[in-house]
């Protein structure tokens, strides 16, 4: 655990206590069984916003606490522990980072205080297929009058059904594969010509398919510079990747703790199965991976706070190492629980399903490894 200030420790403890009481794994199960499109009860997110979690990285002038990314990461880790669903990672961390970095005064005024208050949710509409590949952006934005007309589709937009607006990556020049010619737009979810429909993945969380049919956007809807949005897009995605890595760390930590408890209580051959060396050494390996992942995630969160030059490398490292760790622990969680881990009544399956969903979200482990290697010049 990183060395925390007293305020950060208090925030983490508050998050831990709230999550245990108000958002245990059974809350996700209840949302799933009730057919929720969001994966959480709206009052749960209202609670989070009331505690200030939606505005942790929002400037004070816009109603936030400007308490830093490491601090928000601590909350995301705690939420990850119980698979507590919320739009905090995507909207309150990644979208806020983009607005703070590149938003006009009007855009900031319009969106930041609403996000901090929990009234607005801004999702990232980037990918157009099942695998993350931002540079392949094809959704077209054509100049029209003084503004733009957007046409195309976006796939698997996380928190897309909850969103009140989207940061949309669109192509204003060039072809898919070109970094140049990408522009980011802020588009309200109720814009004319924009339709969305839910996509149900195994993790019971919120994903939307978006169709843009000549959606009109004024010049004021451009976030950052037209035609030159790729760097801002990548940086925003890096913040999202680190946010998701923090959630993954929490999931891995809890998956391990739950499994360790089972090793200490399940009796076979007259002794706890945790006394068998074959399982002990696998448990020791999981702890090692977990400690490495924690170091990478905490360093990456701190790197956002420091606006570090190597943020992209840190994000790739954190997402890849957290991905490997969570992949291992989610498999072992099912395996070590044996038959009970295969039942829907047990939590292991929920961790396994969410694990694969976050592993692929914003770039898979292999994708980030290759990206890291390229950035290092390999």
């Amino acid at each position: 655990m990183a060395v925390l200030t007293e305020e950060q420790s208090m925030l983490r403890d508050a998050a831990r206590a709230w999550v245990q009481e108000k958002a245990p794994v059974s809350a996700l199960r209840k949302a799933r069984d009730g057919g929720s499109l969001l994966g959480y009860a709206p009052e749960a997110f209202a609670d989070m916003a009331a505690m200030g979690w939606a505005g942790v990285v929002v400037p004070e002038a816009c109603g936030g606490s400007e308490f830093g990314y490491l601090s928000l990461g601590l909350v995301l880790e705690e939420l990850g522990r119980t698979l507590a669903a919320s739009p905090l990672a995507v909207s309150s961390m990644a979208a806020v980072s983009a607005l703070v970095r590149a938003g006009t005064d009007a855009q900031k005024e319009c969106w930041l205080s609403a996000i901090a208050a929990g009234e607005a949710v801004v999702a990232l509409a980037v990918d157009e297929g099942p695998r993350h590949d931002p540079v392949r952006t094809a959704l077209k934005a054509e100049a029209s009058g003084g503004g733009w007309r957007l046409s195309g589709a976006k796939a698997f937009v996380a928190e897309g059904m909850a969103a009140t607006a989207f940061i949309v990556a669109a192509r204003t020049a060039g072809a898919p594969g070109d970094e140049a010619g990408i522009t980011l737009f802020l588009i309200p979810a109720d814009a004319t010509g924009l339709t969305r429909s839910p996509r149900h993945l195994a993790d019971s969380r919120d994903y939307a398919a978006l169709i843009f049919e000549g959606v009109e956007a004024g010049a004021e809807a451009v976030l950052g510079r037209a035609g030159d949005g790729y760097a801002l897009l990548e940086r925003t995605l890096d913040v999202a990747r680190i946010a998701i890595a923090a959630e993954m760390l929490g999931m891995a930590a809890q998956g391990f703790d739950t499994t360790l408890d089972y090793l200490k209580t399940r009796v076979q051959f007259g002794q706890t199965i945790g006394s068998f060396q074959a399982l002990q050494h696998r448990a020791a390996r999981m702890l090692s991976e977990l400690e490495l992942a924690r170091s990478c995630v905490e360093a990456a969160l701190a790197a956002i706070d420091q606006d570090a030059e190597d943020l992209a490398q840190q994000a790739a490292l954190a997402k890849a190492v957290a991905g490997d760790t969570l992949n291992l622990i989610s498999r072992e969680m099912v395996q070590m629980h044996g038959g009970i881990g295969m039942t829907d009544a047990h939590d292991a399956g929920l961790y396994l399903k969410r694990a694969r969903a976050v592993e692929t979200l914003f770039g898979s482990t292999a994708w980030h490894r290759d990206r890291w290697g390229r950035m290092q010049g390999f």
Binding site: L260, H281, L287, S288, E291, S295, G373
Partner: protein, 399 residues
């Protein structure tokens, strides 16, 4: 976080800088005098630097000044280290006395023992070796059989130790011996003896790397004064285990040698030289490339974990789980690096001796082989996993 104010830090920084300017011979920038001292006498500037640091006590900066240490706070010691790094000054005082035996004796030794043995360690005058493993007691260290009999006015020791690092150069030995054969862990004692005592015979062991960093040490009717028993009779296991914690800490880099794993030519540069690049400038072999990337990322994660453990230690929260995994992860990363280097270099990476190889290539072969010891010594990887499972994770012994 710092345990003294920034004004004090600035004052000590000035003091350290002034002293180093006056006392560090610039000819020794980057030179590891402690390593030279481990295998033979040092002279000239190296001797001067060792003596000056020894007298000042700054080779053991946080040890009590009463026993010849520097008496510095941890924060001051960090400032000193920073100032030394700035000018390329390496600590000339090293070896097992510093890393393992000294800290253990400070904790468990009698006042007389500390007065006698700690100051020469601080001055780098006495080289210590470790008499732990035996032919029948490796991973199962507590099975050791070296007999230590109470002869009234002295102890008489008979037996054999093995894997005694640097025994051929050592002046003294700290040794685990059996003083009670009717019980296992509770029959072990911790003693010290002079390596020149009659009956001590040392034979270097040639390893697969061709080097001989370890010895067999034969003990035949070795007379050990009674005052050389550390702690109570039959109470040596606790002391011996504590010493192993210091050993693991230093082996994993927790003792400050964190840069060790980053040493040498980076693997990607090595691969571009020996394997070549494709049309886009990437390492030509994609399978090898992806394995190099995977390894480099794990090495980076390990470095971040070392830094985190150090930050946590400074933060005063005590050692965390991060420290328990260091030895296994560090040794695995080091071995993986060496294996990849051999694979990258092909036959050129297996050069043994003679013409056709650079010094670096020959050194790489020996390092690859020598590094296999890192998951065996100081408690094997499997023993570390047992320790993690039982002490950290609280899993029970198999019945």
């Amino acid at each position: 976080m710092a345990d003294f104010g920034s004004t004090d830090a600035d004052a000590f920084r000035t003091e350290a800088r002034d002293w180093l300017t006056a006392n560090f011979p610039p000819s020794l920038a980057g030179v590891d005098v402690a390593m030279m001292n481990a295998t033979g006498p040092v002279e000239g500037d190296a001797l001067l630097w060792k003596q000056r640091m020894g007298e000042k006590g700054w080779g053991t900066p946080t040890w009590p000044a009463a026993y010849g240490g520097g008496g510095l706070s941890p924060a001051q010691a960090r400032v000193l280290q920073q100032e030394m790094n700035r000018i390329g000054a390496r600590n000339p005082i090293g070896g097992m006395g510093i890393m393992m035996f000294g800290p253990t004796l400070l904790e468990y030794g009698s006042e007389e023992q500390k007065q006698r043995h700690i100051p020469p360690i601080c001055r780098g005058e006495i080289r210590w070796c470790q008499g732990y493993s035996e032919p029948g007691a490796g991973s199962d260290l507590a099975a050791l059989q070296t007999r230590c009999e109470d002869m009234g006015d002295h102890f008489l020791v008979n037996g054999q130790k093995v894997w005694t690092s640097g025994a051929q150069y050592a002046d003294w030995c700290f040794c685990l011996v059996r003083t009670d054969f009717t019980t296992k862990h509770e029959g072990i004692s911790f003693i010290l003896f002079d390596m020149r005592t009659p009956g001590v015979e040392v034979r270097p062991i040639k390893l697969i790397s061709g080097n001989s960093p370890f010895c067999e040490t034969f003990l035949t009717d070795v007379k050990v004064p009674k005052e050389n028993l550390v702690g109570p009779l039959n109470g040596g296991w606790t002391i011996g285990k504590r010493l192993l914690q210091h050993e693991r800490n230093s082996l994993s880099g927790g003792g400050g040698s964190a840069g060790r794993f980053a040493a040498g030519t980076p693997l990607d540069a090595l691969a571009k030289t020996y394997v070549g690049v494709d049309g886009t400038g990437r390492i030509a072999d994609p399978d090898l490339r992806s394995r190099i990337i995977r390894h480099q990322m794990e090495a980076k994660a390990f470095m971040l974990t070392l830094m985190r453990a150090q930050a946590e230690a400074r933060g005063g929260g005590g050692p965390s789980n991060a420290t328990s995994i260091m030895k296994n992860v560090g040794s695995k990363v080091g071995q993986e690096r060496a294996e990849l280097a051999v694979e990258i270099m092909g036959a050129q990476g297996l050069g043994w001796e003679g013409d056709g190889f650079t010094d670096k290539e020959l050194e790489q072969t020996r390092n690859w082989l020598g590094g296999k010891a890192t998951t065996i010594y100081g408690g094997s990887a499997e023993i570390q996993n047992n320790i993690i499972a039982k002490r950290i994770l609280g899993l029970l012994d198999h019945q």
